[in-house]
């Protein structure tokens, strides 16, 4: 037992050391992200002192880019299953080793989600009121309490799966199937649940007709399963470029077919929603009108949503055409899809729900500089976390860092050399 704990500590210590080892490009990238993290932290410190008045939000539009980014990132996290399903249900070998990269992305995305929710709280000092047993947890009535459970549960599931698989690889042992396969299958269902619950957060509000629609949940999933794998396609190519980790084009093209189908469903569901809102022409269409064409002289979101729709539709056509089999076109497509869905799911979903207010008042929203800096800070923090996870995972998966080369309890200096080699293409 003692030895197990000790071995694990040595493993964690080596992982930690790995996070700080790299060539100048690695340091430059991490330094760049750290600067943004600190800028964000500084902006948040100002907000903490002065209150949420430093944001663009007000009583009329009481959620803004924080919750928008949160909603989008829950989708990115959920999309990790799109790598897991082909591997564990359809035994796709091509993607097998890439699953961990997807799950690590999910961990980073959930960390960002938690950060975005925290910065949105008026009283972050009272977060303990949310802890079941310690505070007062309004479960199962409040959808937010469901969200707390599913997000934290998903985080733990993914940390367990990645952590266990990496540690097994480090020890050069076959992972015990019973210790991770059940969790993989739980995580598949759980991934769907995190985004469904996040959709229900909005859907459950009867007083907001823009959200109170049963199509929001399916649309969330379709857009998540588009944007998430699109991001993974891009991330895998970056990994392939900056490390010598082997990732085949075929794996990328498998992901392409996932993005392809999801995007078709996503655009189809969008059409359904637009038709229902505008054809019947009832009084509840005010928010949609504001979003798509502007209302009573207010149209701040109109250029955004049409950009998003254009990106989505162009991406959809590129995806169905054979041209996106070439990586250059596929990358363009993925960027378009990712940005399009970020706009549509973030600003396009959260903000119009508040405009006009339930009493018919028109107040527009745009984020302030301080608010934007906090957002950049959290995105930088997420990328920083993901980079560190990859920095640890890649040499372990390659077998460069393993128990065999521990060479005694002192951290061997040689760890750096294979690692530095790993960083040069």
């Amino acid at each position: 037992m003692r030895k197990m704990v000790h071995d694990y500590r040595v493993f964690l210590w080596r992982c930690l050391r790995l996070a700080f080892a790299g060539d100048w490009r690695y340091y430059a990238w991490m330094g760049f992200l750290t600067v943004f993290c600190l800028l964000g932290l500084n902006a948040y410190a100002k907000q903490f002192v002065q209150g949420l008045v430093v944001t663009g939000m007000c009583d009329q539009v009481s959620w803004g880019v924080y919750i928008a980014n949160f909603t989008f990132l829950v989708g990115v996290a959920a999309a990790a299953v799109m790598l897991v399903i082909p591997v564990y249900i359809y035994d796709n070998e091509e993607l097998h080793d890439l699953v961990i990269f997807g799950e690590l992305l999910a961990v980073a995305a959930i960390l960002m989600c938690l950060a975005f929710v925290t910065v949105d709280l008026g009283r972050p000092d009272r977060f303990w009121h949310l802890i079941p047993g310690l505070g007062q947890f309004n479960f199962p009535a409040s959808m937010l309490s469901w969200d707390v459970i599913v997000l934290n549960g998903y985080l733990l599931l993914n940390i367990h799966i990645c952590g266990y698989l990496l540690y097994s690889r480090y020890q050069n042992r076959r992972p015990a199937r019973w210790f991770y396969i059940p969790f993989v299958f739980i995580a598949i269902g759980w991934a769907v649940s995190i985004h469904t619950v996040t959709a229900f957060l909005y859907v459950g509000l009867g007083g907001r007709p823009f959200w109170n629609s049963s199509i929001v949940g399916p649309r969330f999933l379709a857009s998540a399963f588009t944007a998430g794998p699109a991001l993974i396609i891009l991330a895998l190519q970056i990994i392939r470029r900056v490390t010598d980790y082997r990732i085949t084009d075929r794996a990328l093209l498998t992901l392409r077919s996932i993005v392809q189908v999801s995007m078709l469903i996503n655009v189809f569901l969008l059409l359904n929603e637009v038709f229902k809102e505008f054809y019947s022409g009832n009084l509840h269409v005010a928010s949609s009108r504001y979003l798509y064409v502007g209302l009573e002289g207010h149209h701040a979101l109109v250029p955004w949503i049409w950009t998003a729709i254009t990106f989505n539709i162009v991406a959809m056509f590129l995806l169905v055409l054979p041209v996106s089999r070439s990586l250059r076109w596929l990358n363009l497509t993925c960027v378009l899809a990712f940005v399009g869905i970020w706009i549509e799911k973030g600003m396009g979903l959260v903000i119009p729900g508040f405009i006009p207010t339930p009493l018919g008042e028109m107040v527009e929203y745009s984020p302030t500089l301080n608010e934007t800096l906090v957002c950049f800070g959290i995105w930088a923090f997420g990328l920083l976390a993901y980079t560190i996870f990859l920095r640890m995972a890649v040499p372990i998966l390659q077998g460069r860092v393993c128990k065999a080369n521990e060479s005694g309890p002192v951290l061997p200096p040689r760890v750096r050399q294979p690692n530095a080699a790993a960083a040069t293409p």
Binding site: L41, F48, V49, L52, D59, R126, L205, G353
Partner: protein, 318 residues
């Protein structure tokens, strides 16, 4: 579990002895400048004052406080208010009365849209003045519709009432089926037996989910530290009512709990120059509100189709 003694807690030794010292210095320098950058980015926190106290941070949930603990909490609030405003307030924890269910009835025929209720409410309930928080929003409605999307919130004529319009003040509707209570993740807002939905300002985490859920736009958030001129403070306070709030929590109309649970009328009713506002115990058949609900031909629950079942009724005389 002892950490292996050979394992250095400090810097790595990637080369020979000579390099190790340089690398130690370099690591220290990086570490120190990192800490300095972190400290600099957190510098705004120096201006943090009176954000919370240990007592407040550790305070239990309202419904779990024993009477003795409640007494201590009330004393703490009195002490804090006195320190901040120089006025010793009287803070009570008023409980709902048995056999009482409050309801409000508002006569749309009589209301002239003067907004006196709005300002009486602010004065009574110790709302922040800069920025000003108001619980009541008066809507100017064109004749012939109850669609709030057609309303005007910022009407500002020389004289009210104006021809062709009627006026509809909207405040917390004290729903029987309140969406705000359902969505609160920490039970910081709930419905009391007399029908008033209250907020424990010391328990609210400020997520604003209730504000998104309310179909009547009745909830308000303290976007910054509330400020009230010292000479404007109303010292007659209730825990669940008009005691001063802190930054980052929700508040809303509570039917003037500090008055109505002590047998008085709400401030908005008392100030109304036309007698458009009626308030009382709907369980008492002799009360004015019970009479109105029984005899008036037309009364409206705003957004009735949502199933929230407000305790705030609008009626016309004819």
């Amino acid at each position: 579990m002892a950490y292996p003694p050979q394992s250095p807690a400090g810097a790595p030794t990637p080369g020979g002895e000579g390099q190790s010292r340089r690398s130690f210095l370099r690591t220290s320098a990086v570490f120190a400048s990192g800490l300095a950058a972190l400290a600099a980015s957190l510098a705004p926190l120096r201006h943090l004052e009176d954000y919370t106290s240990l007592e407040l941070f550790m305070q239990k949930y309202y419904k779990e406080l024993t009477p003795e603990e409640m007494a201590k909490v009330l004393q703490r609030i009195e002490r804090e208010v006195e320190r901040q405003y120089g006025v010793r307030p009287h803070v009570r924890d008023l409980k709902p009365m048995n056999g009482v269910e409050f309801a409000y009835a508002h006569n749309l025929t009589r209301c002239i849209g003067c907004r006196k209720c709005v300002h009486a409410c602010v004065a009574e309930n110790n709302q922040s003045r800069t920025p000003e928080i108001q619980y009541i929003r008066v809507l100017r409605m064109p004749h012939g519709t109850l669609d709030v999307d057609k309303s005007e919130h910022h009407y500002d004529p020389k004289l009210v009432p104006e021809k062709g319009y009627f006026y509809m003040p909207v405040q917390c509707q004290q729903c029987k089926n309140p969406p705000c209570v359902k969505v609160c993740p920490v039970h910081a807002t709930w419905q009391e037996t007399d029908g008033i939905t209250v907020i424990d300002y010391d328990w609210c985490i400020g997520c604003r989910y209730c504000e998104a859920a309310c179909p009547y736009w009745a909830r308000r958030f303290n976007w910054t530290k509330p400020s009230i001129p010292k000479d404007r403070l109303n010292p007659d306070m209730a825990y669940l009512g008009n005691r001063p709030r802190r930054q980052g929590v929700m508040e809303k109309c509570h039917f003037c709990i500090q008055r109505t649970r002590a047998g008085r009328y709400p401030a908005c009713l008392e100030v109304c120059p036309t007698g458009a506002r009626k308030f009382g115990n709907v369980l008492d058949p002799n009360s004015e509100v019970a009479y109105i609900l029984r005899t008036k031909r037309v009364f409206i629950q705003l957004k009735e189709d949502l199933g929230t079942s407000p305790r705030f009724f609008y009626y016309f005389d004819v």
